[in-house]
Amino acid sequence: MTSALDITRSVNPPRAVFVNFPLGHQTGKPHQPDLQRQIVRDALRRFETIGKPGTIVELPYVWDAHDRQWEETDYTGNFLPPRPPQEDADLIEEERRARFASSNIK
């Protein structure tokens, strides 16, 4: 799949499927399993239907029928969250790993 059509046109892979959603949502919206499942099904079907190398299929999903604002702002300006200073990043990482080390999740 591809979330950036212009980049993928340049890369020219054997086959690709594009969903026009904001970055970080190529296979759907959080906690919407029906939408996610539908996107994945549609993408996988293209393994069988794409016959010409270099084909990119755009699936007809729309992020928000009433609001296309995200297309103006995705990946511009202050789009990316600021990176934490290194000490904070290391602390966050320590805490993440400790959470799993001490848990009883199998």
Binding site: L5, P22, P30, P33, E71, Y75, R97
Partner: protein
Amino acid sequence: MPVEYIPRTRELYSSYLPYRWAVNQDTPPWTPLDKPIAQSKLAVMSSGGILYRDQPRFHREDASYRMIPKNATQNELSVWHFGYRTVDAEADHNCVFPLARLRELEAEGAIGELADPAYSFMGGVYSARKIREELAPRIADELKRAHVEAFYLVPA
């Protein structure tokens, strides 16, 4: 109109070395899938920086990958990536790494087999050479050894 990420990336990272975008004009290599996906072994990989339990996070210019058990659950997965807003992927990995959805599709027979493990890397790597010469061949070897027939790459 789909967003043009090349000019936006150039702008966003204008204080860094200009990124050299891959440009491939030849016909791409092509292997047709010779049977239905419902009879095929499929592996999935995300470039969204997915981590399983206490696997170490990614670093800058990191061409390493992680192996994610196919039965990993939401509370065993975390995300490390600086290049996209990860809040939704952290809340529900299926936004960028549809592992639970693929397990369901396997259970209903829509795919022949979901390969174990799944794969994850962090796509925000400046060096395309590292990806091409280090990451990609290693993943390809893993897939061949596991007799994977279709490879589903999902970007962030």
